[in-house]
């Protein structure tokens, strides 16, 4: 097939275009205490944040690499080849007119302006390491919702940031949360006041555009008592042939009776390491929902977690992973039932194709004092060919006998009868595969805002093209 070698070179990636790097400030590659201090100084941060960063840097240097997941791939990461900070335009803009032309051009091709016209609750479009465009719709402002990029959040609301930053995911949690804490840049800061319901999903786009450009965004969402928000994050990254590291940290805090839903579709190009720590704390009767889709990247290690800290709180983790050629998706969920009468649902669906590997890694913990808990875990894997691999690593730690737990797991293959049936309705083999795969992911897709669902279905259909038979 023509174009195969070209597609191979860019990692078979649809959005594999990139604008010329337009960085005004760019650090040399590699990490040192001085680089960390320079980042903090350049951003004009308060001393306490500099201290947090420096301490985290030393943690990072001291901590070993995880000895699970995919060690071979992890050990290929060359931390000295990563650029840890890059600012692509001067400061943060709210007005679309002020966004540089080549950046707009890229966004145009990703369809972002239309998305905004339609129904954005506010946009943070992260270009390289910092948000260049940040708009908050008036109704959000009127409701008292704070929605800023994290750097601005620190400047304008230092007392809130200081109170919550790193409380859900401390730097010492793992090597990559330590790294993020040391060099974080960008991400979102959101505070929803008591009783406020943000009706529209709030969205942000993250991309990687510079060669060897690490992305270390840091997101903190605090939903005060009885409030609710749906935050949507979608990633599409242009491709390069050298490795890229994406290591974000996302902390969610749902106060009593609050509800946070955090939806992600990541579609990093096939050279990106996507090593993300996501965790939320749910206080009494609060709900935290992670809707997490992993389609791209070389290696993803991501296990959205919920600490059910308050009585009657609820966790929902719905995730999908697609592993194609050369990809390993090591994803799953962690739920810790720390209080009585807490409930959780975990649904994980994964697809492996062309020798890809998808792993479910899950942790379900019920502490001795957490009486009357209920949890249901369902993991389904779909194998599209015999070369691909799927594995499951579920861990359960149950500290009392009153828990009501269900666990279901299945591995299935696409049957010839299904293919024959769909093909007899005029669908080519690739189209038939696309339908089956989209159907398999449907319990996830239906949770997404419409345009994400449509785009995800299209991406999966593209993935099924040209590689069968």
């Amino acid at each position: 097939m023509t174009g195969d070698s070209a597609r191979e070179a860019v990692g078979d990636y649809r959005y594999g275009f990139h604008d010329p790097e337009n960085a005004t400030i760019r650090f040399d590659k590699g990490l040192s205490e001085q680089v960390v201090r320079d980042i903090s100084e350049l951003k004009g941060e308060p001393q306490w944040m500099t201290d947090v960063r420096v301490k985290a840097y030393h943690r990072f240097m001291d901590m070993p690499m995880p000895n699970w997941g995919n060690c071979d791939m992890l050990n290929q990461i060359d931390f000295d080849a990563v650029t840890y900070f890059l600012r692509s335009s001067d400061g943060t803009e709210r007005d679309w007119d002020e966004v540089p032309e080549d950046i707009k051009n890229t966004f145009d091709r990703l369809g972002i302006p239309e998305a905004e016209q339609k129904w954005l609750g506010g946009v943070t479009a992260q270009y390289e390491s910092e948000a260049v465009y940040h708009s908050i719709r008036e109704d959000l402002e009127e409701q008292g919702v704070l929605f800023l990029d994290m750097d601005s959040g620190l400047k304008e609301y230092p007392e809130i940031v200081k109170k919550y930053f790193g409380t859900v995911i401390p730097a010492s949690d793992n090597k990559f949360s330590a790294l993020n804490t040391a060099v974080w840049s960008g991400g979102s800061f959101i505070y929803i006041p008591k009783g406020v319901h943000v009706e529209m999903p709030v969205q942000a786009y993250f991309r990687i555009n510079a060669k060897n450009m690490g992305q270390f965004e840091r997101t903190l969402i605090i939903a005060d008592e009885g409030s609710s928000i749906h935050y949507v994050e979608g990633c599409t990254a242009p491709s390069y042939s050298t490795e890229s590291l994406h290591s974000a940290v996302v902390e969610l805090i749902a106060m009593d009776g609050a509800k946070i839903r955090y939806s992600t579709v990541q579609n990093w190009s096939a050279n990106v390491y996507n090593l993300v720590t996501k965790r939320g704390v749910a206080h009494a009767n609060a709900t935290i929902e992670w809707v997490d889709g992993n389609i791209g990247s070389k290696l993803t290690m991501k296990y959205p977690a919920v600490l059910l800290k308050g009585e009657g709180s609820h966790a929902e983790v719905i995730s999908v992973a697609y592993a194609g050629k050369g990809q390993h998706q090591d994803a799953g969920a962690k739920v810790h039932h720390l209080a009585p009468n807490t409930t959780s649902n975990i649904l994980s669906k994964s697809i492996a194709k062309n020798g890809g590997r998808s792993s479910y890694r899950g942790m379900l913990q019920v502490t001795p004092k957490a009486h009357g808990c209920r949890s249901k875990v369902v993991c389904d894997a779909l194998m599209l060919d015999p070369e691909s691999q799927s594995d499951t690593y579920p861990t359960m730690e149950v500290g009392n006998s009153t828990a009501d737990l269900e666990h279901e797991a299945s591995v299935s293959k696409v049957s010839n009868d299904q293919l024959f049936y769909l093909m007899s309705r005029g669908h080519s083999e690739e189209e038939a595969m696309g339908l089956i795969v989209n159907g398999f992911f449907e319990p996830f897709t239906r949770e997404l805002p419409m345009e994400y669902a449509v785009e995800l279905n299209r991406l999966l259909e593209l993935e099924m093209e040209g590689s069968i038979g």
Partner: protein
């Protein structure tokens, strides 16, 4: 339109169809009757192109083209339709989406606009006494036998084939379902050729065949008119065996 000549078919070295010839023209209804294992269903699957079956000799010509040149989906796009005895379920794919995509795939440039499609859908679903709620269910997932068969006939009406292969579409249907399904079949026969594969005469009370063929051990052993079906009902197949 369809011309089968001295067809031999094997699955994993076992010969199932052993020299079968048959011609079907537009406007004709052919019924194939026979016992279980006589090769009736295999015939329908082979004509549609199921990959498990090997054609070892003979030929199938559809609209002047040898079928071996056409993949399954190309046969569908060329106007062939198979109503499955056991339709597969496709979890997560809604009936409405599936029908829209299938109509677009099969009818191509002549596919109706979204509005026309909804109109056609409404007319056919009413005729088949199907509730709107069908459209948001997953394809054949948790369907009763009768629901599956109605969905097959709905697809046939929407895809508007020139050759309809109906594999035991009458099995598992109650009297009311048999009536509406038969009306569906009758509505396409003026512009299509139709091959009905059935065990029982009762479908043929509703859909009048022009020809009735009896299949035994991979071959057509007798061909007659509608009266042959009635004769089979009372006499069985033994008298036709050599």
């Amino acid at each position: 339109m369809l011309s089968i000549d001295n067809l031999h078919v094997s699955v994993e070295d076992t010969e199932i169809i052993k020299g079968l010839s048959l011609k079907i023209n537009i406007g004709e209804v052919h019924a194939i009757m026979g016992r279980n294992g006589s090769g009736k269903s295999t015939l329908a699957s082979v004509v549609m192109g199921h990959p498990a079956y090997q054609i070892t000799s003979g030929s199938i010509i559809f609209k002047g083209k040898p079928l071996e040149d056409l993949e399954v989906f190309e046969r569908a796009r060329a106007g062939m339709f198979l109503s499955f005895q056991y339709p597969s379920s496709i979890p997560g794919v809604q009936v409405g989406t599936f029908l829209r995509k299938s109509v677009a795939a099969v009818r191509g440039e002549n596919a109706p606009s979204a509005r026309e499609f909804r109109k056609e859908l409404k007319v056919h679903m009413e005729a088949l006494e199907m509730d709107k709620s069908f459209l948001s269910r997953y394809v054949n997932d948790g369907f009763s036998g009768g629901e599956k068969k109605r969905l097959e006939i709905l697809q046939m009406l929407l895809l508007n084939p020139t050759l309809a292969l109906l594999d035991e579409t009458d099995s598992g249907l109650d009297i009311d379902a048999l009536r509406v399904v038969s009306e569906g079949i009758n509505s396409i026969t003026p512009t299509a050729g139709c091959l009905l594969i059935t065990h029982y005469q009762r479908l043929l009370e509703h859909v009048k065949p022009d020809y009735v063929h009896v299949m035994i051990d991979g071959k057509i052993v007798k061909t007659g008119g509608p009266e042959l079906a009635i004769e089979l009902e009372s006499k069985g197949y033994d008298w036709l065996e050599a």
